[in-house]
Symmetry: C2
Subunit: 476 residues, 2 copies
């Protein structure tokens, strides 16, 4: 039974994309719908999003941000107000042309992102320096008409948060941009157990309308990179396009400086591809809807279910815990909850009860330990903390093992072919070289990391002197 359950997913070494699709479905995260490229987040998938959202939202509130809700529609003329922005997004939006039985006089797009709506609102709301800063965030779904889609990683509609802030000075906007990047980094590390590289995007990879785009980049199990969150400093470009001005302390009119920053359900894709294995999903405890699954052994025997209930009661004080007392076999249950990535399994049967002990099994390593029932809740608590910590360490180790240095294109291509991962290589700064590298290898510049170093003297592509270190990689 157990074997059958697991054999239904492809080995990641055989076909990583197929492994991913299998896990997403078999772990009960999503279902497909009849709308191309849109996914249904099932209770287990949405439960992960709820935990992620709650912990991220708390971090936004702790840093002084307030949630708002903007309309989902943007009139075409409003979208067109900032040139770079409309050029970036117009080709990939969904257009509403009819309301009820009437044709609209102006098309509305379904928001692909809400910069222009926030700008219009800020132009109304901001008058004086006393109104600044505005630190708003919104949780919603957005739509981008993508050609090819994959659950969590790229969907037509996806859930996300978008922070939008307005400040008196460029400096304050820049501080905000970097502060939120730090919030994302800390969140990815401590909640998702995913280490990230922080850096700046090149001109080519910048967000449409931004002066500077910063990113956190993570490395998946197959050596591909995933852009996991971005934070943008808009300078006062949008403010000029939307006439968002305030009177400063000297009663002079000034444009505001703005930022935006966002992460999406894509982060769940990152969790799957960083931590998952051939038995399915592996969830960090901080976002596991079920942190501990108690599996009674020989549950028909007297006292087993009662004891399991008692343990559940104790553990429920420190963790999200469930009992699986369905009529499936223990082996089947083991596989099923392994597939769903439950961090800790507690096995308890008649012999354990007699010996006043229980067996704890870690999902991430498979390690089993037998512990006394007297301090089971404490043991579980400490085990969950250990798992959370060690999953991050393991992911860091994997990233370090799969980060390489290339000093010329031969090395670069050899790495991509033989040991895909992050490639650190120098770049002269020209978009021509960036394009060339992408065309020749499929790898893109992931970021110019904050931690700069010199790994060679010359640009990997053109051979001219180069001072900028770039992380490169094939990316989702």
């Amino acid at each position: 039974m157990s074997k059958k359950f697991v054999s239904e997913i492809t080995d990641m070494e055989v076909d990583f994309p197929q492994w991913y699709t299998d896990v997403v479905k078999k772990a009960d995260l999503i279902d497909y719908s009849s709308v191309r490229g849109c996914m249904i987040l099932k209770p287990y998938g949405y439960g992960i999003w709820e935990l992620l959202q709650k912990q991220l939202d708390q971090r936004f509130k702790d840093t002084g941000h307030e949630n708002v809700y903007m309309p989902m529609f943007i009139p075409e003329s409003l979208l067109e107000k900032e040139k770079d922005h409309v050029d970036g997004f117009a080709p990939e939006v969904a257009w509403v042309t009819h309301g009820g039985e009437s044709k609209l006089t102006e098309r509305l797009c379904v928001r692909p992102t809400s910069e222009v709506l926030f700008c219009e609102h800020y132009a109304n709301e901001i008058e004086s320096h006393r109104d600044l800063p505005k630190l708003y965030n919104q949780w919603c779904s957005v739509v981008r008409w993508e050609k090819t889609t994959r659950p969590f990683l790229r969907t037509l509609e996806f859930l996300w948060q978008e922070g939008h802030t307005a400040h008196a000075t460029y400096q304050e906007a820049q501080e905000e941009t970097l502060k939120m990047l730090d919030v994302y980094e800390e969140f990815c590390q401590n909640v998702l157990a995913i280490p990230v590289i922080k850096g700046e995007k090149t001109e080519k990879e910048k967000f449409a309308g931004a002066e500077k785009t910063y990113t956190i980049e993570s490395l998946m199990h197959d050596g591909k990179a995933l852009q996991s969150g971005t934070s943008h400093n808009f300078g006062n470009g949008f403010a000029k396009a939307f006439d968002i001005q305030y009177t400063d302390k000297d009663n002079k009119l000034q444009y505001v400086y703005q930022t935006s920053w966002g992460v999406t359900t894509r982060l769940i894709g990152a969790v799957i591809m960083v931590h998952g294995d051939n038995r399915g999903l592996v969830l960090p405890p901080a976002i596991s809807p079920v942190q501990v699954m108690i599996i009674p052994i020989a549950q028909h025997k007297e006292g087993v279910l009662e004891k399991a209930d008692q343990l559940k009661e104790e553990i429920s004080k420190i963790a999200r815990v469930k009992i699986d007392d369905s009529d499936k076999s223990p082996g089947w249950k083991f596989s099923e909850h392994e597939m769903k990535g439950v961090p800790v399994r507690v096995e308890i049967g008649p012999r354990d009860i007699k010996a006043n002990q229980a067996v704890l099994v870690r999902r991430d390593t498979g390690d089993k330990t037998t512990v006394s029932m007297d301090n089971l809740a404490d043991e579980v608590d400490s085990l969950l903390k250990t798992i959370q910590k060690e999953m991050l360490e393991k992911a860091k180790h994997h990233r370090e093992e799969n980060t390489f240095i290339a000093t010329n294109m031969d090395e670069f291509e050899k790495i991509l072919d033989e040991t895909p991962g992050f490639i650190k290589a120098m770049w002269c700064g020209s978009e021509e070289c960036e394009d060339q590298i992408k065309d020749d290898t499929g790898a893109t510049s992931r970021c110019m990391p904050f931690k700069q170093e010199s790994v060679s003297e010359t640009c990997i592509c053109c051979g001219k002197p180069a001072e900028t270190l770039v992380y490169w990689g094939r990316a989702y």
Copy 2:
């Protein structure tokens, strides 16, 4: 200053709709956007929604429901699968016809409600009686192309939750339908401090596709009714249209029975119109983003701000508390926080500090009490509970005072003209009479209350014998 602030809103006795619009804007709940009929929920308005959502969501989880997320688009052919449903909604949906630069082969509507998406999913997911019941809920926004709109009460896009469940039997579906109506009733009473009448909608007022629609109806300050939440039993009509079948214990194929139930941001409109007064919003403590506002008097004097901080620290253990130490005058601050409906104001100045006391002012009644600082947190805690309780009592009293009995059409019309409110009157059950009453008076049947009584022998309209009591009223 204080006078000016308040004089900016119209008296409700002079022009109730204008009073409503003024409060919504001046209390900082919303802003208008450039999209007709869509509102921006500002931090204060969204903060109320977050508190409402959190407490309602907990009730859904406590009754065994799980959250999911469905796509926002519905293909036209999917919407058309259940005839009554499409007839009810197709005239008021927004149609997406283009994705990026291409025309779509099939139009997509932006969900006005998600029955058909849940049905399609359930048809995939449900195979056996072991898969039942399915108890799903979704928090999202929906779009209905309304001709006239008003903030919170009727907007093109609004936030809501929609529960969708599937059951093995009609009886179970019926129990679920009524259980969720009870959840709404308890929530409205204990959280929003709004009493509701529970009852069944007439055939004419039923939801498109439902066998039975139940409603909670509340009475606004101006004597108009507001449908505040609905719960529908679909029988197996959708199941037949979407072929949602399960194998029962005898291995026979059976159709499932379904329900849906929802409440929206309209509930915030109800809170405004039930509790508000001529000084603005009055919020029940359970959904107040700020429950206690501390206003330091003569705050420049030594020790005042320090003491205020200390009190805030103490009160923060039991309530959401803020200090307003801006450079506005105390009078201005009083008016501002009254406008925003903050339940309790704490005034503290040099003389209070000397006397080891503080002044507590209730927003709902204006009552002032002077209490010792030694047990301020306890006093505030008990005051908040009293306010929550007495706001409900006051609203109940208002509803009772404004619920009338009519035994003929003259009485009926006289009540509507002179003392608008709920009208209890008998109805023969014919849609003709219902239509006639609406055409003649503008009043609609709100519900056939669960608590039936006989207030006369004959139908208010046609004079034939009548056994059904109906609540009537002009409604939002």
